[in-house]
Every structure is written in structure tokens, then in C-alpha cells.
């Protein structure tokens, strides 16, 4: 009896500690959350409906992206989006979508939220899928016939998917210096 009520009290106290204390804010509406736009997780959470082909992406790229990234995504005012495979461990690493980015979902997320640079948010979801397909194809990561959508995109394995490690710092040994005055 005592035990039960103590557990109940503790649970109630925990809930109280975790619930609203100042009563500020309004319940956020689904519309409000939708208006914030899509944030895409590596497992594809947040990807909208729609799909895009490499061929469609080539057209979107020519119209919207090539001005800054070059006709073949080789880079101009904006960075190169292709090439660099096999350079990461060399003296002159080239970090591109193809050589460095670990998740295809990040490419979708970034283009959707931040591109084109001067008109972010301009592209419709189908256009974003298409441009991502085109860039992945330019990097020989997907075939010319592959279609990108909410199901296929998270399954794309990027070449540098396993190229990241946890932060080991402090990593530079200063013990010798500590003994100095």
C-alpha cells in the first residue's frame, strides 16, 4: 500500500517536473509546423511525395543550377558537385557531393532549403528529387534509369558513407609542455 502510493507520488512529481510551469506559448498548429518546411533525416523521415528522374534533373540543373555550378557541375562561382573520388587521403583532397557527402538525404535537404542561392525554396519537391538524381548520376552513384523518391533516396549508399569518425579531442599531446614553468 505504502509502496504503491510512493511510486504514484514519485511518478506524479516527475510528471510535474516535466510539464509546463510558466504556461507560455500557444499550441503549435500542424500548419505552423508545415510552414517551417521539411527537415530531412538520414532515414528519409520528412521526405515529401513526388519523384524525379535523371533526365528531368538535367533540365532543372541547366535552368537553375548551372549558372553557378557550371554546365557539368564542375564548379564556377559555386563549388564543384562532381569528382574528387579517391582524393580524400591525398595532399589535395577534393570534397564534393560525390566524394565526401555521407548521405543522399542531405543533398535533398540542402537543395530544398538553400538552393538556388539567390532564390532558396524555388524548386518544387519533384524538381528537387530530379536534380538530386541528376547530381548522383553525374557522380556515378545511381544509374541513368533510376528514379528518386521518398523510398529510393534514403537507400542510396554514398561512397563516403563510412568516412566519418567521432571527435577524439583533446588529441594533441601537451604533457611535455605542462612541466615547463
Amino acid at each position: 500500500m505504502w509502496r504503491v502510493s510512493l511510486v504514484a507520488l514519485a511518478a506524479a512529481a516527475m510528471l510535474a517536473a516535466q510539464s509546463s510551469k510558466y504556461g507560455v506559448g500557444q499550441p503549435a498548429t500542424p500548419g505552423q509546423i508545415r510552414d517551417l518546411g521539411a527537415a530531412i533525416a538520414p532515414d528519409g523521415t520528412g521526405l515529401p511525395e513526388g519523384s524525379g528522374t535523371v533526365a528531368a534533373g538535367r533540365e532543372v540543373f541547366a535552368a537553375r543550377c548551372s549558372k553557378c555550378h557550371g554546365e557539368k557541375a564542375e564548379g564556377a562561382v559555386g563549388p564543384a558537385l562532381v569528382g574528387g573520388r579517391g582524393t580524400l587521403a591525398t595532399a589535395k583532397p577534393v570534397k564534393t557531393v560525390g566524394s565526401f557527402w555521407p548521405y543522399a538525404t542531405t543533398v535533398w535537404d540542402y537543395i530544398n532549403r538553400a538552393m538556388p542561392f539567390d532564390q532558396p525554396g524555388l524548386l518544387k519537391p519533384a524538381e528537387v528529387y530530379a536534380v538530386v538524381a541528376y547530381i548522383l548520376n553525374l557522380n556515378h552513384i545511381i544509374g541513368t534509369d533510376q528514379v528518386m523518391d521518398a523510398k529510393s533516396l534514403p537507400k542510396v549508399k554514398m561512397p563516403n558513407r563510412d568516412g566519418f569518425v567521432a571527435d577524439p579531442r583533446p588529441d594533441v599531446d601537451n604533457k611535455a609542455k605542462r612541466s615547463e614553468r
Binding site: Q18, G25, A41, K95, F100, Y103, T106, A114, G163, V172
Partner: protein
């Protein structure tokens, strides 16, 4: 009646013109180096400006896309331990948005009991704290990885500034919304054009992060995230998301572009370190420093700034013989954790070449490393988080330059 009214207005206009003209004359003659003693000064004003004789400004590279880039704080022209808001370094990815605080909302959603939408006014009235903290770009001193290091303090170490920030603990806001069991990350998003986003582990989100609205006694500057931004003491600037409008509670990191493609540190083996949020101990001598000239042999006060993302500065050592011997500098009190600590040391310049540098030690016992020690472990392509010792060469003629590695 009518005539006299008109004439009195005319009279007022005449007086105004005379005062205005006098004002201009005073400033012009002062700027021309003339003695203005005894001349009537400038009237009171609604929002202050610095003296027209003070010229220090932020430095920025020429760019075809000036909406993305960095501007560097003129640290060598700063006094004490605070950075004026107007000279705080900038790093923007898609320009500075103009946000009406009355229209702005911070939405907390995802794995919460009650998704919440908060106004700026509501947040400003919640229990708040003020803390003096350094904010440093993860890419500060990135140019120092190259053999030819930066020519002056501003261009090589200027992506760091120190302000008093005022805001509400993030933990308070998350508790208001009620974080669900199993939540492990917070995805913070800004309201700039590119909606910059970063993932923050929930343990850190509940511990010592501010949703800041104040900077140095007034509202945040637009360039610093007006009306709301994250302030994460000790973490690289990029994670301190500006123009904050969304906090999404999730069970995974979102692997945003700015935490995968950027702000990761590439090692010589081709692997990159990820989620390298922590800033380490660092210092730089600001006088004498690159680009300056000593007037000749004399006693000088050598001075500079030290800081650490891990806490207080415990000690700063200074060498004036290229690193052969080090002496303890005097530290300006109070020393605040994760804030600029000003150090000073009397030094006699004999008119002979001297290679000078400072080395910070923080309360965790961490010692600022040499550039060579950093490169031995990380190579020269890691890009971010350079905190090496900066050497300056005071030439025999008093000119101060960088030291080529």
C-alpha cells in the same frame, strides 16, 4: 498675427541653420586638426556613434556573393575583454534576414508532449540569465593550416568575439513543451534564406544553452540573429543557430549539410571527424602584432587575448625569444569561463629582432599547442578548429610581421 508667426518660424529656421552649420564647422575643423577648444560641441543624440577619429572596422574578402562569407573582428584595435556589437565577427550563409519580432515565432515540435509556438515577448519575460561568453567560428584561423600564415591578428584570428548574452535556458523551453522519452537530438533551424540547421544532442540541449535575445545590454544585432539565437557556451559558432525559429526534437541526428559536408575535420587518412563542436584553448598577442610598427627601442606593454571553450584561462605564457623560454603574463581579473581573458607583460624592445608568441593554459590543464604539433596529428587539410600558437616577428626596425613556417 499671421506675419509675426511666419517671421518667428523664419527666425527659428535661421537659428537652426546657424547651429547646424556651426556643428558641421566644429567637426570639420576638428577633423582638419584644428584646435576646437571653446567651440560649442555637438548636441545630444538618440543613438550613439563612436568618434569620427576611430576607424577600426571588420575585414572581409571581396566576393561575388557577399551574402555568404565572414567578416573578421579587429582584435588588435580592441581594448579590454569585450567586443562592441557593431564589430562582432559575422558568418552568414544566405544574408542577414530582416525580421519583425512581432511576427516571429519559435516553434518547438517533434517528440514533445505539446508542440509549442512562442512569441519573442513571451520568451523575453521568462526567467533569464546573462553570461559573458566568447563566440568563435569553427573555421577561425583556418588560414593558419597553410605554410604562409595570416599577416595580422584580424585576418588570422578575427573570427572570435566576446559579448554579454542574455537569454532563457533552452532546458526551460524544452521542459515547457515536455520532451518525450526516447528523444536524443534537437534539430535547430534559423529563419535565414537558407534555413541553416544543426543537430544538437539532447543531453547538451538540457545543459547550459541559452535561447538569447540580448547582447551587450540591447537586443541582438540583426547580424547576430535578431530576434533569437542559440548560445552554446564553448561550442563552435555555427552550432549557435541565429534567427532561431524551429527546434525539432528527434531520435536521430539529421546530418545537415553544415555538420557533414562542412564543419567536419578531414584527417590525413581520409576520414573526417564529425560533430566537432568543442572549441579549445587559444591565445594571440595583439600588441605588438602583424602590420604594426614599434616607434623604437623602449619599454612596452605586450598584450593579447586568451580564451578557452572548456572554461577559465588558468595561465598565459609569453615568449620573446622564439619559444626558447616562456614567462607568465599578468592576467586581467575577473577571469570568466569561456570568455576573453586579457593578458599583459612589460617587455623591453632593444631594437633587435625578436620572435614573440603566447601560449594559453586552461583550467582543464589543456595547453595551447604549436602549429607543428597540430599538423603532426591532423595534417594540413582539416580546415577547422586551428588553435595553434601564433608567432610574430618584431624586426630590428620595429615593423612587425607574421612568421613563415
Amino acid at each position: 498675427m499671421r506675419v509675426s508667426k511666419r517671421s518667428s518660424r523664419r527666425q527659428l529656421l535661421r537659428i537652426g541653420a546657424a547651429v547646424g552649420g556651426g556643428l558641421l564647422a566644429t567637426r570639420e575643423s576638428a577633423m582638419a586638426g584644428e584646435n576646437t577648444l571653446g567651440q560649442l560641441g555637438i548636441p545630444l543624440g538618440p543613438y550613439g556613434e563612436r568618434s569620427p577619429f576611430e576607424k577600426a572596422v571588420r575585414w572581409t574578402r571581396e566576393s561575388k556573393t557577399p551574402e555568404t562569407g565572414s567578416s573578421f573582428t579587429p582584435l588588435a584595435d580592441s581594448f579590454g575583454t569585450l567586443t562592441p556589437s557593431s564589430l562582432h565577427y559575422e558568418r552568414h550563409h544566405a544574408g542577414i534576414p530582416t525580421i519583425d519580432p512581432a511576427q516571429h515565432r519559435l516553434v518547438i515540435h517533434g517528440m514533445v508532449k505539446q508542440p509549442l509556438s512562442l512569441t519573442v515577448a513571451e520568451i523575453r519575460h521568462l526567467p533569464s540569465v546573462s553570461r559573458t561568453l566568447v563566440l568563435e567560428c569553427g573555421g577561425n584561423s583556418g588560414s593558419e593550416w597553410a605554410a604562409k600564415t595570416g599577416p595580422d591578428v584580424q585576418r588570422s584570428y578575427g573570427l572570435v568575439s566576446c559579448s554579454e548574452w542574455t537569454g532563457v535556458p533552452l532546458s526551460l523551453l524544452l521542459t515547457e513543451a515536455g520532451v518525450q522519452p526516447g528523444a536524443s537530438w534537437v534539430i535547430a533551424e534559423g529563419a535565414d534564406a537558407c534555413r541553416m540547421e544543426r543537430s544538437i544532442p539532447i543531453a547538451r540541449a538540457m545543459d547550459n544553452i541559452l535561447v538569447a535575445y540580448g547582447q551587450n545590454g540591447e537586443a541582438l544585432r540583426p547580424a547576430q540573429g535578431y530576434p533569437l539565437r542559440l548560445i552554446i557556451p564553448g561550442w563552435e559558432g555555427n552550432a549557435n543557430v541565429k534567427w532561431l525559429h524551429s527546434l525539432k526534437i528527434t531520435d536521430q541526428a539529421y546530418m545537415a549539410r553544415d555538420e557533414t559536408a562542412k564543419y567536419t575535420d578531414l584527417m590525413p587518412d581520409g576520414k573526417a571527424r564529425i560533430f566537432t563542436y568543442q572549441m579549445e584553448a587559444k591565445s594571440v598577442i595583439t600588441f605588438p602584432s602583424g602590420g604594426q610598427t614599434l616607434r623604437g627601442p623602449s619599454l612596452y606593454e605586450l598584450t593579447g587575448l586568451a580564451w578557452s571553450g572548456r572554461g577559465k584561462i588558468e595561465r598565459v605564457d609569453v615568449t620573446t625569444d622564439g619559444g626558447r623560454s616562456w614567462v607568465k603574463a599578468l592576467l586581467q581579473e575577473p577571469r570568466l569561463p569561456i570568455a576573453f581573458t586579457r593578458f599583459r607583460l612589460p617587455w623591453r624592445f632593444e631594437g633587435r629582432e625578436a620572435v614573440i608568441a603566447s601560449r594559453a593554459v586552461d583550467e582543464s590543464g589543456y595547453v595551447q599547442p604549436t602549429r607543428e604539433a597540430l599538423i603532426a596529428v591532423r595534417g594540413t587539410n582539416s580546415g577547422y578548429h586551428f588553435n595553434g600558437i601564433k608567432f610574430w616577428k618584431v624586426q630590428a626596425d620595429g615593423n612587425v610581421t607574421y612568421v613563415e613556417s
